[in-house]
Amino acid sequence: MAVLEIRDARKSFGANRALDGLSLALREGELLGLLGPNGAGKTTLIRAISGRVKLDGGSVSLYGRVVEIGHARTDLGVVPQENALYPLLTARENLETFGKLNGLDGKRLRERTAWALEWTGLADRAKSEVRSFSGGMKRRLNLACGVLHEPKLVLLDEPTVGVDPQSREAIYDMLAALRTAGTSLLLTTHYLEEAEARCERIVIIDRGRAIAAGTLPELVTHAGLAGRRVRLSLDRPAASAPAGFALAEEGNALTATITDVAHELPGLLSRLQGAGLGVRDLEVRTASLQSVFLELTGKELRE
C-alpha cells in the first residue's frame, strides 16, 4: 500500500506552472528521492503534501485518504530546507516547542526530547542556545524537530544543503535509523551522488512533472542508457568509426555500448586492431544518474 500518493497535482503561481500534473507514490518504509533542478517544483510539492499549498487540481492522499488543507497532520513530519529553529531558545526548548505543537506533552514529550538529544548527539548541549551551534548541529536539530512526534512519513526538503561531508554523513545515519524504525521518507535533493547512493527509488521532476521514476537501473533503462559505456582513447585520430563504434572528441576517441564486458570487449579490441587503430587508454562505465538526468532533462543539475 502506498503511504503517500499524489495524483495529477497542478499548481500555478501566476503564469508559472509550479506543478503541472505531477504524480508519484511512496511505499511504506521507503526512502524516495525527489530529484530535480532548481525551480522544478520540489518545494511546492513538499508544501502541497504538508497542506501549505492549495492545489489547483489533483489530489494528495495519505494512507489512502485524500487530505484537506488546514487539517492537522500529526502522522506527517516536515523538515524544511531552512534551519527553522528559534535561535534564542536552547536545543531542549526548541524540541519541546515543536513537540508540543505536534501533539506531544507530559512524559511522552520528556521521553522523546531525551531521545532526540541523544539521537542528534546534542545531549551535552541541551541547555545551549541554538544561536551558538554550528551549521551541522543546527541541521541535526532541525531534523529532530521534524520527527520528534514519530510521524510515519517524513518529508525532507534538502536536508543536507550547506553542510560539510561529515555532518552530511551523520544526517544520513540518522535517516537510516528512522527507516529501520519503519518510517517512510520523501527527500528532495539536488545532490546526484546522494540520491544515487542513498535512495531506494528516485523520481526525477522537471517543469512540475515527474518525468521518470524507479531504481537507478530502471531509470538508466528508461533513459535508453542501459549497458556499459566503453570509451577508447586512440593513439592517432581516426577518419571514420569501425563498425559498432561511434566517433568522439573529433576522432581522438571512440565510444561503444556493450552489455557483457567479458564476452564483448575482446571482440571490440580485435576490430580496432583490424582497422589499424592503436588504443592509448580504455574506460568502461555504467550509466550514472548524472547521465540519466542529463538525458532526460537536457540539463546539468546545479548546486
Binding site: F13, R52, V78, A84
Partner: protein, 396 residues
C-alpha cells in the same frame, strides 16, 4: 575609491523604494503632521480659544456687563448656561444658568479647563481699584494651568471694558498693585491640590502609552523574523493554525505591555511619588485594555509589513503621529476642538484619557466605561485587520 562607494550607495538608494520613502517622504509626513498639530499657520490661534464656564451669582447689571465683556473677548469661549454638546457633562439643564457646583464639576470631569465664579456683591469690586468687595473665583484644572492664568488676565481686560462702558472708571492716585486691579480674583485648583508632582501622572501615562505602542510593534515584528527563519512555516504546518498563532503573539505582546506599564508606574511611584497604590483598580483596568489594544495594533503593523525595515518605518510614522495627535507629547486640551475630535480616531487618545481619569480626575471605575469600550472596539478591529492581512501566510 571613496567616490565609488558614494556612487554605489546612491545607486542602491535609487533602486530601493522603501528606503526612499523612509529617507524623504516620512520626514515630510512627520513635519506636516506635527505642524498641523502644534499650530502652524496660525490656525490654532483661531480655534484654540480658552473655554470657560462663567457663573454669575451676583446677577446685577454690572456683573452681566462683565459677562458680556468676557463673551465679547476673542480669546475666550464663554459658557454660561447649557454646556457644549460633550459627553457626560454633569451640569445644569439646558438654558438654565450654571451653578458654582455644576461649573466645578465640569472642570473636575475634564470637560472644561477653567470656570469663573462671580460671587454675590462682585459689582462693588468691578473697577473699584481699591481692593474692596468680594473676589472673583477662578476654578482651574491643574493639568492646564495656562488656561487659569489666561482667564485671570482676560478677566482684567473685560472688567476694564465693562467699567469703561458704564462710565465707572475712577483711577486712584496710589495703592498697591493688587489693589489697583480692576477686579481682584483668587485661583483654586479643583484637582491635585495635595499632590507634590501632579504632572507626573500625565507624563507617566503619555510616555507609557507611546512606548508600549513601539514595543508592541517590535513584538509583532517577530512574525517577520519567523517568516524569514522558516519557523512560521513549521509552526503553521503543525496543528496550530493562523488563528492560534496570532492569538499567541497577541497575548504575549499584551502581557509584555502590562509588565512595561507596571514597571514604569512603579518607578513613577518610587521616584516621583506617583499615587499608584491609591489607584490600583483603575490602573489595572486601563493597563490591561491599553496593552491589549496596543498589541493588536502592533500585529496590524507586523502583518502589513514585509520586512523589518518596513515595520520600523510604519511604526515610527504611525506611533509618533498618533501620539502627537493623541496627547502623549502635547496635551489634547491645548489643541483645537477640531484636532481634539480628530485625535479620537487613535486608540491611544482613549487610553491616555482613561489614565488621566484614574490618576488625575480620580474618577470612579464606572467613568472608565467609554474609554474601556473604545479600547475593546479598537482591539477587535485591529485583530480582525491583522487576521485578514495574515492571510498571505496561509496556504497559497
Amino acid at each position: 575609491m571613496i567616490g565609488l562607494l558614494i556612487r554605489n550607495s546612491w545607486a542602491q538608494l535609487r533602486r530601493d523604494r522603501a528606503a526612499q520613502v523612509l529617507a524623504f517622504a516620512v520626514p515630510i509626513a512627520f513635519f506636516s503632521i506635527f505642524a498641523i498639530i502644534f499650530g502652524a499657520g496660525g490656525r490654532v490661534q483661531n480655534t484654540s480659544r480658552v473655554a470657560v464656564a462663567v457663573v454669575d451669582e451676583a446677577g446685577t447689571a454690572k456683573s452681566r456687563a462683565l459677562v458680556a465683556a468676557l463673551q465679547a473677548d476673542s480669546g475666550l469661549k464663554v459658557i454660561t448656561s447649557a454646556p457644549p454638546a460633550r459627553r457626560g457633562v454633569a451640569a445644569a439643564t439646558p438654558d438654565t444658568a450654571l451653578t458654582r457646583a455644576a461649573a466645578e464639576q465640569m472642570v473636575k470631569t475634564g470637560n472644561l479647563p477653567v470656570a469663573l465664579v462671580l460671587p454675590a456683591g462682585i459689582e462693588s469690586a468691578i473697577g473699584s481699584f481699591n481692593g474692596a468687595g468680594p473676589r472673583a473665583l477662578i476654578l482651574y484644572d491643574p493639568s492646564d494651568p495656562v488656561a487659569g492664568r489666561v482667564v485671570g488676565g482676560l478677566l482684567q481686560r473685560a472688567a476694564l471694558r465693562a467699567s469703561a462702558a458704564g462710565g465707572l472708571m475712577g483711577l486712584p492716585a496710589g495703592g498697591d498693585a493688587d489693589a489697583m486691579l480692576p477686579l481682584r480674583f483668587e485661583q483654586r485648583a479643583v484637582l491635585g491640590e495635595k499632590r507634590e508632582s501632579p504632572m507626573v501622572a500625565f507624563y507617566a501615562a503619555g510616555i507609557a502609552v507611546m512606548f508600549i505602542m513601539f514595543s508592541a510593534a517590535g513584538a509583532g515584528g517577530a512574525l517577520i523574523e519567523e517568516t524569514d527563519s522558516g519557523t512560521l512555516e513549521r509552526v503553521l504546518t503543525s496543528g496550530l493554525g493562523m488563528n492560534g498563532l496570532l492569538l499567541g503573539k497577541w497575548l504575549y505582546a499584551t502581557s509584555l505591555g502590562c509588565a512595561q506599564i507596571t514597571i514604569m508606574f512603579v518607578w513613577g511611584m518610587l521616584v516621583f511619588k506617583l499615587p499608584l497604590l491609591q489607584h490600583l483598580p483603575g490602573f489595572a483596568i486601563m493597563t490591561v485594555f491599553t496593552a491589549a489594544a496596543a498589541s493588536a495594533f502592533g500585529l496590524v503593523l507586523a502583518t502589513l509589513s514585509r520586512t523589518r525595515q518596513q515595520l520600523a518605518g510604519f511604526a515610527n510614522l504611525l506611533v509618533l503621529s498618533l501620539n502627537a495627535l493623541g496627547g502623549s507629547m502635547f496635551p489634547r486640551f491645548l489643541m483645537s476642538d477640531t484636532l481634539q475630535r480628530i485625535s479620537l480616531v487613535g486608540f491611544n487618545s482613549w487610553a491616555l484619557e482613561g489614565y488621566l481619569k484614574v490618576f488625575w480626575r480620580e474618577a470612579p471605575l464606572a467613568a472608565l466605561a467609554p474609554q474601556v469600550g473604545a479600547l475593546v472596539g479598537f482591539t477587535m478591529l485591529f485583530l480582525m485587520l491583522a487576521r485578514r492581512l495574515a492571510r498571505r501566510w496561509e496556504a497559497a
